[in-house]
Amino acid sequence: MTSILPLRAEGAELRFRGKLLVGPVDVSLGAKGVTIVLGPNGSGKTSLLRMLHGLECPSAGQVRWAVPMHETFEKQAFVFQSPIMMRRTVRDNLAYPLRLSGVARAEARDRADHWAARVGLQDALDRQATVLSGGEQQKLALARALIRDPQVLFLDEPCASLDGRATREIEETLVAAAAAGTRLVMSTHDMGQARRLADEVLFLLHGKVQAFGPARAFFDHPPSAQARAFIKGDIVE
């Protein structure tokens, strides 16, 4: 299978009614690993992920994959900060992306059941997704994103409102996905989570990329005073 990576953003900017939300961004995401996007509230993490994924068109510059854009659609997925649950059962939520790709009903069902088990939702298969708890919904969203076996998975603070246990379960699934070769690009506010998962850190401030590089170096030798303050949990101006 041809890889859709690397992903290159070249001078990519996202504006809303003229106001700069994020950019210009010049980064290249290689074939492997976990990139963690860090930054204070409003620094542009969500905007950046949405633009890279293709949910928003860059207002300037470009976002380029190794293959033409339309060939990437089924090979990338997105997990939103507040999970979007379809008004269907857990099983039908999981099967939906597969059905879109033309997988037969019976096989889609089997794979849905398999993925539900992987995230611990095997007993909830026939329940309506909208009545699940926040943690269960986020696990379902993650499994639904992984079910088409994407090459790249974007996650926007997937554990923001979850407790420690649910966070750990999500992380375990993410580590397994990364080990199986899925490229992860994820924003988080949780410094511990960033240290646990990151191979690479992208640090945003006021919509600008302040730092981008190996995680070890970022945490051990913060590249700027702001980065140091942010890692310590201080308020960054």
Binding site: L55, A77, I84, M86, R87, Y96, Q128, T130, V131
Partner: protein, 234 residues
Amino acid sequence: MGELWEGMRQAVWLVVTLDPDLVEISLRSLRVTLSALLIASMIALPLAAVLTVQRFRFRRLTVATLNALMGLPPVVVGLIVYIILSRGGPLGVLGLLFTPWAMVIAQVVIIVPLIASVAHQSLRELWSEYHDLLISLSTTKRQRIAALLWDGRRALLTAALAGFGRAIGEVGAIMIVGGNIEHVTRVLTTAIVLETGKGDFALALALGFILIAMAIVINFAIHNLSRTETEGRW
């Protein structure tokens, strides 16, 4: 007063004994209105879905027009449909005037805007929920419409029921285009008008009971649907 009570008593008797006239008229009403509902839903529901996911130049105008058409007086609809179907009119050759089909057409015209507007409102809500996910999954327009129609089916059923209630209780338009012909186009509402005019309260009241019963059943169904909707269960 005594006459009224006597009428009441007879009305109950007509209902209980399934009076042939009463049954015939009720069944015709149901047939006409269900046909109109089916046709109107086939037009209004896809229209509502397209208006929700498709951006085009006159979308706002179309939505505004639908809302305005909802307020169209049924009598005027009747008049217009009458003119169109009358012998000299554009569709006169079809010979539909004073047939049940004329009534179906009038009812369709009356309830399409209602069903489409109500459906559009709930689909828009659902679309704002689903938008990012369905875009992220790179769905086609057709797939988006399918997802909205399927997952919004309860709300759509509610919209359709509202249309049914409006159509079955309508009298002005179908009186004009149907003509209230016995055994042909006489339905619940037009029969009530006629019997009341004749002073035969028994049949009028009996027909009224049927109509009220239908209205209650429909509203009960709508209420139930919207209650389960918020609970997120079937």
